[in-house]
Symmetry: C3
């Protein structure tokens, strides 16, 4: 088992790791739209928050030894399904031609009033990247 | 990594694949009660929607090289927990004697006003089925 | 594939298994704050419920051949994000120095009016424990 920690994604604010790798798979923790290295900064608006969430997840996937093309599944938690088309567009831009399995989950109020959260499972090399 | 695509389940409407296979495991995308090949058709009522969701997930599992007996976990998202007994009955009929791990998640309004969504993880052969 | 069943966690009330093991990974079903062996007992209050949920998940992980230190990911479903600090404290006490990946999901009303549910993925030996 390997614990992943990168300054390219927000530092964990609770009892969790950004990702844990086992058996060639990285389990990436749910990411809120926090800005790496600037925990007090608050992004407003769905689009800015969605970009940050996608960026945070992919930064952790890369730190784990994967890439956008090795993401197997994402789960996206949104407080309002009306935001979905915007999310899908930004996500497609970030993922490129690769299309992981995905589940969209409409949820209640997220931590700190944020509008979107995402976690992921990705294929990675088992050794250190 | 192998991408799964089958006409026996609804075509993806966004930037995702029906399933992605890696390391002997198929990650199946969240399925809504859409009817394969008939995207404009709308199933009304919880029971019809639940049957379709279960059918869609199992069709993708089969296309990935698995079967109902190789499903490892499902996550079921429902807008009203009162529907649960009906879901459990239909699900038991479809899965037979095999009982995967399962999580039930009460959610807000799903896409298109649907009442139920399900995703899955299943064991499959790594090669093409 | 191996089915996990232990009297140290609540018996399944529906068509699911407490956990299924495949490929060195245990998929643990979503656990509510039910008391093993005493299904009619009802724990009141978030803290008691959170302790029981964590206990149930870890009992299943142990029965599967893992331990708190081999948990890869948890997903925690809570009806009110205001309860989060309490959950994080109890969870840290139970997990010790190990920090799995984690996702927190705010949800609607859970089964039986409970306030918290948790599932998990853990690394385990493939053979019988």
């Amino acid at each position: 088992m390997r614990i992943v920690e990168t300054a390219d994604a927000p530092a964990a604010r609770g009892h969790y790791s950004q990702a844990v790798v086992h058996g060639g798979v990285a389990y990436v923790a749910g990411q809120l739209p926090l800005v790496p290295g600037d925990p007090e900064r608050r992004l407003e608006g769905f689009e800015a928050q969605a970009r940050q969430v996608i960026s945070n997840v992919l930064a952790i996937v890369r730190a784990a030894g994967g890439s956008p093309a090795t993401v197997l599944r994402t789960t996206v938690y949104i407080t309002d399904v009306a935001h979905w088309p915007v999310f899908n567009r930004l996500y497609a831009e970030a993922l490129g031609s690769h299309r992981p399995a995905r589940t969209v989950v409409p949820v209640g109020a997220l931590h700190y009033g944020y509008l979107v959260e995402m976690d992921a499972v990705a294929a990675v090399e088992d050794g250190a990247p």
